[in-house]
Symmetry: C2
């Protein structure tokens, strides 16, 4: 009847197009109400699909949410290497901060900080170790160059940057560039050179 590409009327999607829409809807719901209050019904409505298409694919709410996080959270790829520890730190913290502050980051945080232990553990295991490894790689390289004290490269200090970013977001609601510089210059670098 009407043209296939009518504006208001979304055409019927399959495969990845549909998956993407559902995953996006899950992240939005997570960010807004968190996991315990997330309802399949609203996810379906948001993704402009039916509940059946969701129940057909995921047996439980937990599977759906973990699927969404796996699909949507950026795998971090290249470790920055400017040849300068300060610039490396600024880059990596800015990148982590940007992810944390994004809509998907807020959704993921709602899971990590949330009240469901199983979900929190699963999401933590996915997101935290890679960031920590990245920090450690960076610090080891700097120690090799003699820029920082090799004894200061510990698990604890590798965690400190991301933890402070997280705290910053919790306390102030936003991660500014000034805050990142402060964390680097006032906390991390003094520690690494101690």
């Amino acid at each position: 009847m009407t043209a296939a590409t009518e504006p208001g009327r979304a055409t019927r999607r399959r495969g990845d197009a549909l998956l993407d829409a559902i995953y996006a809807a899950v992240m939005e719901e997570l960010a807004e109400v968190g996991y315990p209050a997330l309802s399949i019904e609203r996810v379906a409505e948001r993704a402009r699909t039916g509940k059946a298409s969701i129940y057909r694919r995921w047996p439980t709410r937990l599977d759906l949410v973990l699927g969404a996080i796996d699909h949507v959270m950026p795998r971090l790829d290249d470790v920055p290497d400017t040849g300068n520890i300060r610039d490396d730190l600024l880059l990596v913290l800015r990148r982590i901060g940007a992810v944390m502050g994004s809509r998907n980051g807020i959704a993921a945080r709602a899971c990590v900080d949330g009240t469901d232990d199983e979900l929190a553990r699963a999401v933590r295991e996915r997101l935290i170790p890679p960031r920590k490894e990245m920090m450690l790689a960076l610090l080891h390289r700097a120690a090799g160059r003699g820029e920082i004290n090799a004894d200061a490269v510990t698990q604890r200090i590798a965690e400190t940057g991301p933890m402070l970013l997280h705290g910053e977001l919790l306390q102030r609601g936003v991660i500014t560039d000034a805050a990142i510089s402060e964390i680097v210059d006032e906390v991390l670098l003094p520690l690494l050179r101690a």
Copy 2:
């Protein structure tokens, strides 16, 4: 008919006894399902009272929750003063850590970390500034004694200890004494003496 102090049958409470029961029930619910999924119905059931007694007192869910937090979270009283910055830090972080890890601490964290901005802001404003002031008081005294570098006593560093405790709880689920010692000896003291 039966004796007034019959064991299984709780007698009808008024005033503070009832208030305490309701507030405790709110904190339990917060810790288990968080704010968006907290229902007045379950709070009433948990407190062994009726919904009417709750609606009679608090106009909204938010008022109820804030009331519970105000009533239940410990006001921190004396600033520790051992004459030694390391011991002061250990004491204060242990105290904060104990509160964070308690049932009420978990409930409060569910609010602070949660998805409701209004609630998160209100709870943050109640809990964070006093802790931060405590840290600052402690650090200023130590600087006065010449134990640490006066230039190192900044807002940021005063926040760092509690933030790392928070991160510790999120990542490992528990705050051990070993973790506190590590934070003090590996992060805070080196920074303060830099």
